[in-house]
C-alpha cells in the first residue's frame, strides 16, 4: 500500500494532477485563484506569459478528443511551453513495456509534462508511477475514473457566478455510472463543502454504493432539480441505448431531459452547465443549452485558465533543492 500521495511532492505541493480525491480544500481554492489570475491573460492583446518557457508539454491522447486536447494545447502555448501532440491509435492495446518504453523515449527527449487521456481507469496513475522524477503528469480523463481539470473549470465557473460554495444545492443529472466528469465533480463539490449534492438518473445509470461518495440519489428529475442553484447535465453516449441501460433516447429525454419547463422548479437564478459535447434533444433541449441560464460557453473559456493554472503550478514549482534542479 502506498501511504504517500502520488500527486504531491515531498513539500506537499502538487506534482501531478491525477484526481481531485485527496486534494485539500485550500489546494483547490489555490488552483481556482491562480486560474482567476490567468483569465485576464486571455483578455490581453498578447495572450502569453513566459512561465513555462523552455518546457515541453506532450499531449498523450489514447482516446479521441477535440475540446480537451485543444484547450490543453492553448493553455500550454499561452504559458510559452513547447507542445507536442501524440495521438495513439485507440484500437491498438498499448500496455506494459510498450507504453513505458514510449514514455521513457519521450523523457529522453527532455519532455517535462505528459497530459494523458486514456480509455482505462487508472492509466494516469500508472504513468505517474513510472515517469522520471522531473516529469509531471496531468490526467485529462481516464476511463470512468477522473477528469480533474474539467471538474476544476466547473468549480471556477460556479464560483465566478455564485461566489460561495457553502449555501449551494447542486444537481448532477445523467449518466453518473460511466462519467469520469461526475466523479471528479463530486469530489470537488464535497471538498468545497456545498450544502447539498444530488445525483439524478434512473437506477441503471447510478453506480452501486454512490452514496459513499457523499451524494443524495434521486430517480426523479423534478425532485432532483427542486430549488437547485446549479444544474450540471452530463452527456449521454449513444451506445448506452444498448446493454439494457435505457429503453430509448425518446424515453430518456421525456423523463430526464432538461427543458425550460423542468428547469422552472430550480431556483430562478440557477445556472445550467454541461461538460460537452452536447447531445441536443437527448439530455438537454437547445432552448436551455442556448438560454439565459446556460453557462456552457463560459465553462469552455474557463477551461483554458484552469489548465494554465494546473500546468504552471505543477511544472513551474520552484525547485525544492539543488539536487532536483540537476535532475531536471
Amino acid at each position: 500500500m502506498r501511504r504517500r500521495s502520488l500527486q504531491h511532492d515531498e513539500q506537499g505541493r502538487l506534482r501531478h494532477l491525477l484526481t481531485i480525491e485527496g486534494l485539500k480544500r485550500a489546494q483547490i481554492v489555490d488552483i481556482l485563484d491562480t486560474a482567476e489570475s490567468f483569465i485576464s491573460v486571455g483578455e490581453q492583446k498578447v495572450r502569453k506569459v513566459p512561465l513555462l518557457r523552455g518546457k515541453t508539454v506532450v499531449n498523450l491522447f489514447f482516446e479521441a478528443s477535440t475540446r480537451t486536447l485543444t484547450t490543453f494545447e492553448l493553455a500550454a502555448k499561452r504559458l510559452s511551453a513547447d507542445v507536442l501532440k501524440i495521438n495513439i491509435n485507440t484500437s491498438a492495446t498499448v500496455k506494459g513495456e510498450s507504453l513505458l518504453d514510449m514514455l521513457h523515449n519521450l523523457e529522453a527527449m527532455q519532455c517535462d509534462m505528459f497530459v494523458v487521456r486514456h480509455a482505462d481507469s487508472g492509466a494516469a496513475h500508472l504513468i505517474a508511477r513510472h515517469v522520471a522524477p522531473h516529469v509531471s503528469v496531468i490526467n485529462a480523463g481516464d476511463g470512468s475514473h477522473a477528469h480533474p481539470t474539467q471538474a476544476l473549470l466547473d468549480m471556477l465557473t460556479i464560483r465566478r457566478r455564485k461566489g460561495e460554495f457553502a449555501p449551494l444545492t447542486v444537481a448532477i443529472v445523467g449518466d453518473i455510472m460511466h462519467s469520469r466528469v461526475a466523479r471528479s465533480q463530486i469530489h470537488a463539490l464535497t471538498t468545497l463543502g456545498v450544502s447539498e449534492l444530488r445525483v439524478v438518473a434512473p437506477k441503471t445509470l447510478i453506480p452501486a454504493a454512490v452514496e459513499s461518495l457523499g451524494v443524495h440519489v434521486c430517480h426523479d428529475l423534478d425532485e432532483g432539480l427542486r430549488d437547485a442553484d446549479v444544474v450540471i447535465m452530463l452527456r449521454l453516449q449513444k451506445e448506452r441505448m444498448q446493454g439494457a441501460l435505457l429503453p430509448s433516447e425518446g424515453e430518456y429525454f421525456a423523463h430526464f431531459g432538461l427543458t425550460e419547463e423542468r428547469l422552472a422548479v430550480a431556483k430562478p437564478d440557477a445556472i445550467v452547465m454541461h461538460p460537452g459535447p452536447i447531445n441536443r434533444g437527448v439530455e438537454i433541449a437547445s432552448s436551455v443549452a442556448d438560454g439565459p441560464q446556460s453557462v456552457i460557453l463560459e465553462q469552455v473559456s474557463n477551461g483554458i485558465a484552469v489548465r494554465m493554472a494546473v500546468m504552471s503550478m505543477t511544472l513551474g514549482r520552484p525547485p525544492a533543492d539543488t539536487a532536483e534542479v540537476q535532475a531536471g
Binding site: 502506498r2 481507469s121 487508472g122 492509466a123 513510472h130 470512468s144 475514473h145 452501486a208 461518495l213
Partner: protein, 430 residues
C-alpha cells in the same frame, strides 16, 4: 533410502496427532511414527528440533504457466517454488496456459512434472470440450489419463441444460465437479468488487450477485443430479452461507478459499494497485470476515493458493487491462499459519486446511496418497520452523512470477525441508 526425522513436533491433523515424535520413512512410504519399527536402520537423519513436521501441503488450485505461456513460468520452475513452500501436490485447473480437454495434454503435464521431480501435479480435466460450455468433454478418457476431477475453470457454463448433463455424466464417471461460481453476464467486463471502491475508481464492478446466483443454480443442479461437487475460490460471505445451508441439508458439497481473500479486501486496491487485481475480486471487510468464519465453522474446508505467475508486463497496465492473479505458492503456508497466530484456528486446524481437507476433497486421503502421516501413507512431508520471521522479497522468490501484493509483508513460519514420496525436494540453508 530410509530417513528418520527426529525431535520434531509432529502435527498430523488427519490422525489427530500433535505431539513430539520421530517420523520414519522407508523408500516412498511412512514406516513408523515414534519408535522406529523393528529392524529399521536409517540411512539419513534429519534433525527437526524446534520445527513442525506435517504432511506435505496440497494446493487445490495453481496455474503453472506451461506449455505455451509467456510468463516465464514453467512446470519445472513452479513445482520447484512449490517444494520450497512445502507443497507436495498441486492441482492444475483446465483453463491455464494449456487447455486440458484431451488426454494428451493431461499426459504432457504429468510427464513434465515427473521429469522435474519437485512436486506432484494433478490435473483437472475439462467439463466441456474446449471449455466452450456446449459439448461434453471426454471425461472418461480424461479420467483414464489421470485427471482427478473435472471443471470448466473460470469459464462459465452458461447453458443450464449443458451444466446439468455435464454434472450427470461426471457423476456417472465418479468424477468430482470443481465449480467456479460466477454468472458470466453479471461479471462481464468487471475487474473489482461492485461497491465503494469500484465507484470511487470508476472501475466496472462485479456484483456479489454474480457469485450467489451461480452458486444458487449449481446447488440446485447438484441436488438434482447427485453429483459430487466442490466450489473453488469463494469470495462472498453470502454465497458461503448458501453452501453452509446446503451442507446442513446433507448435500455432498465442499468449498475452498484463496489465501489472499482471508487477508485483503477491495480497500487494498488503493489507487489502482494491479497486484490486487484478482478473480474473483477482493470484496468487502464483511466478506473477508465471513470467509474467515466459514473456515472456523468448517464450511470452507480448504485454503488454496490460486497461484497465477505472471511476467512483469502483465501488471504494468491500467487496472482493468492488467492480468488478474497472484504468484501465491510461497505465501500459502505462512498466510495459513497466520490464522493460527491470530487465534482463528488452532495450529492443527490451520494445517488441516492445506493438508487433510484438500486430500479428502481430492479423494487422496483414503488412498494414502497425501494429507496424512499414517504408517503406510506416501511420505510427502513438510518441515517448517514456526517461529522464524521473514520478509517476502521479489528477488528471493522461487516462482518465475513476482506478482504479489504481499511483497514487504513480514511472514512467520519458514519451510526448512520438503520430502516428496521420501525424496528430499527442498532443503533450506541460511
Amino acid at each position: 533410502m530410509k530417513i528418520s526425522i527426529q525431535h520434531g513436533r509432529l502435527i498430523d491433523p488427519a490422525n489427530g496427532i500433535d505431539t513430539h515424535a520421530d517420523l520414519h520413512i522407508a523408500d516412498e512410504r511412512i514406516a513408523g511414527v515414534g519408535d522406529a519399527p523393528a529392524g529399521f536402520v536409517a540411512d539419513a537423519h534429519i534433525d527437526a528440533s524446534g520445527q513442525v513436521v506435517c504432511p506435505g501441503l496440497i494446493d487445490l488450485r495453481a496455474r503453472l504457466g506451461e506449455p505455451g505461456g509467456e510468463s516465464g513460468a514453467s512446470i519445472a520452475s513452479e513445482t520447484a517454488a512449490a517444494a520450497s513452500a512445502g507443497i507436495t501436490t498441486l492441482v492444475c485447473p483446465p483453463d491455464g496456459e494449456a487447455l486440458i480437454d484431451n488426454p494428451a495434454v493431461a499426459d504432457l503435464i504429468r510427464h513434465r512434472a515427473k521429469l522435474a521431480g519437485h512436486a506432484r501435479v494433478l490435473s483437472l480435466g475439462a467439463l466441456t470440450q474446449g471449455l466452450d460450455g456446449h459439448q461434453l468433454a471426454e471425461m472418461g478418457a480424461l479420467k483414464e489419463a489421470g485427471c482427478i476431477g473435472v471443471s470448466n475453470g473460470l469459464r462459465a457454463v452458461e447453458n443450464t441444460q449443458v451444466m446439468r448433463r455435464a454434472m450427470e455424466y461426471a457423476a456417472s464417471q465418479g468424477l468430482t465437479v470443481f465449480l467456479h461460481a460466477e454468472d458470466p453476464w453479471l461479471a462481464a467486463g468487471g475487474c473489482a468488487h461492485e461497491g465503494a471502491v469500484s465507484v470511487r475508481l470508476g472501475l466496472q464492478g462485479i456484483p456479489e450477485a454474480a457469485e450467489t446466483i451461480a452458486v444458487a443454480r449449481d446447488l440446485q443442479l447438484i441436488e438434482q443430479t447427485g453429483a459430487r461437487a466442490h466450489f473453488g475460490l469463494l469470495s462472498s460471505a453470502r454465497a458461503l452461507r448458501m453452501i453452509a445451508r446446503a451442507r446442513f441439508d446433507g448435500l455432498p458439497v465442499s468449498a475452498d478459499v484463496a489465501a489472499h481473500q482471508l487477508y485483503l479486501t477491495e480497500m487494498d486496491i488503493g489507487y489502482f494497485d494491479t497486484q490486487c487485481h484478482v478473480r474473483p475480486p477482493l470484496r468487502t471487510q464483511a466478506d473477508r470476515d465471513g470467509l474467515r468464519q466459514g473456515l472456523h465453522e468448517g464450511t470452507l474446508g480448504a485454503i488454496c493458493s490460486d497461484h497465477r505467475p505472471h511476467g512483469a508486463d502483465a501488471k504494468l497496465a491500467p487496472f482493468p487491462a492488467s492480468e488478474p492473479g497472484i504468484s501465491a505458492l510461497e505465501t500459502l503456508l505462512p498466510l495459513t499459519l497466520r490464522l493460527a497466530d491470530e487465534g482463528l484456528l488452532s495450529l492443527s486446524q490451520a494445517l488441516a486446511c492445506v493438508t487433510q481437507r484438500p486430500a479428502e476433497i481430492l479423494g487422496l486421503l483414503a488412498r494414502g496418497e497425501g494429507g496424512s502421516l499414517a504408517v503406510g501413507a506416501r511420505a510427502d512431508v513438510c518441515l517448517f520452523d514456526p517461529e522464524t520471521y521473514w520478509e517476502l522479497r521479489a528477488e528471493e522468490m522461487h516462482s518465475a512470477g513476482h506478482n504479489t501484493p504481499f511483497l514487504g509483508w513480514e511472514l512467520k513460519g519458514r519451510v526448512t525441508a520438503c520430502l516428496l514420496a521420501g525424496q528430499i525436494t527442498h532443503h533450506y540453508c541460511d
